[in-house]
């Protein structure tokens, strides 16, 4: 698992994007999938997490999926039918699963995206 704790300051968003980009490269994800994951992480951090003094991004890789946890966050509006381009709608378009989970009494956002099998995947040879 990769864990990255950043100050709640947008200047550090590029650090998170770099990490997701580097990991996506290692996983041999497509450019498009990498770009979507980077935008999802950026959205979760910037729109939901940066009001906190520090915010943590955890990334876990399973054989068939990548899981990203960001927290603590201010939970997004749950109204999927909103006509607005809300963080929830953005995230829901970029990754397959978006859910709020609780960690140490604080809300975190969990993002999950399936990944196709590839020879250079982490842990596979």
């Amino acid at each position: 698992m990769i864990s990255l704790t950043l100050p709640g300051d947008r200047r550090y968003l590029s650090t998170a994007r770099f990490v997701v980009g580097a990991l996506s490269t290692r996983l041999e994800l497509s450019y498009e999938q990498m770009d979507d994951l980077q935008l999802a992480v950026e959205t979760a951090l910037r729109d939901l997490g940066l009001s906190q003094p520090t915010v943590t991004l955890e990334i876990g890789v399973e054989p068939d999926r990548i899981e990203l946890l960001v927290g603590p966050v201010v939970p997004p509006d749950a109204d999927d039918a909103s006509p607005d381009l809300t963080p929830r709608r953005l995230l829901g378009s970029l990754v397959e699963t978006v859910e709020i989970v609780e960690r140490d009494g604080a809300p975190w956002i969990r993002l999950e995206e399936p990944i196709a099998s590839g020879p250079a995947r982490l842990g596979a040879t």
């Binding site: 994007r17 041999e28 450019y31 770009d35 607005d84």
Partner: protein
């Protein structure tokens, strides 16, 4: 001659706009400089001198005073705050771009954009970073770094420069369309309800609609609109940033 602080902003604005009273303008500037300083303070500590930010913010204040419409039933401060904040943000965008992205990364970014199109057509799918790196004869890390620089480019580039560079790629295909798809027209009305959407161009609204409401992928949108996939990615981020800025300014 100094004016009494009991003279309202509106009276001073009327004196300036209707009678050309420059001293009323000077008084308004002086009166609201503490507001500029307070806003500049919020953006200090990011590598720029507070005095520079106050100076830039003052330009925003002067613009607000000069452009204020007396017929609008709003306070000067309501109108001035987003203008001042906008000037400060523009200053950061201009400065950040000029110092942060080396030429080699700008060039590599352009190469990657071209290769992305070629490889997508050749492979019939979106290529991996490794495939792009191999075609560009660079390391994978260089590709990731160049892509990130492209993102910095899209978010910090001064709007006028961004428009100029967009124009280099030819006319906006949206502007050349002869008819409007009815489904899009309806959905665009719906989108227009969203706060901040008015700050987006027609093309940006359409791209956001296709990506986040219709569920099209970047490459599908690129095909639909007739621009490169990387350009779609760049426009999506740019549009989202514009929306965020608009919403933040509304909330200020």
């Amino acid at each position: 001659m100094p004016r009494s602080s009991q003279v309202s902003d509106r009276d001073l604005l009327r004196a300036y706009h209707e009678q050309g009273d420059e001293s009323a303008r000077d008084e308004l500037i002086k009166r609201h400089l503490p507001l500029v300083r307070a806003l500049a303070l919020r953006y200090s500590g990011r590598g720029e001198q507070l005095d520079d930010l106050v100076q830039v913010g003052s330009i925003g204040l002067i613009k607000a005073i000069d452009r204020f419409d007396l017929d609008r039933g709003v306070q000067l401060t309501t109108y001035a705050i987003p203008t001042i904040v906008g000037e400060i943000k523009r200053y950061f965008r201009d400065r950040t771009w000029s110092v942060s992205v080396p030429r080699r990364l700008k060039d590599l970014n352009l190469t990657i954009s071209r290769l992305l199109e070629e490889l997508t057509a050749q492979l019939g799918r979106s290529p991996s970073v490794a495939e792009i790196a191999e075609a560009a004869h660079v390391d994978e890390e260089d590709v990731v770094e160049a892509l990130e620089s492209g993102r910095a480019y899209s978010t910090v580039l001064p709007p006028t420069q961004a428009r100029e560079e967009e124009n280099e790629a030819g006319p906006d295909p949206i502007d050349t369309l002869g008819s409007i798809d009815h489904g899009f027209e309806v959905s665009e009305d719906r989108l227009a309800l969203a706060s901040g959407m008015h700050v987006l161009s027609k093309r940006e609204r359409r791209i956001l609609h296709l990506r986040f409401f219709e569920g099209l992928t970047q490459s599908q949108i690129a095909h639909e609109i007739g621009i490169s996939q990387m350009h779609v990615s760049r426009l999506i981020r740019q549009a989202i940033d514009k929306l965020r800025d608009a919403i933040e300014e509304t909330e200020t």
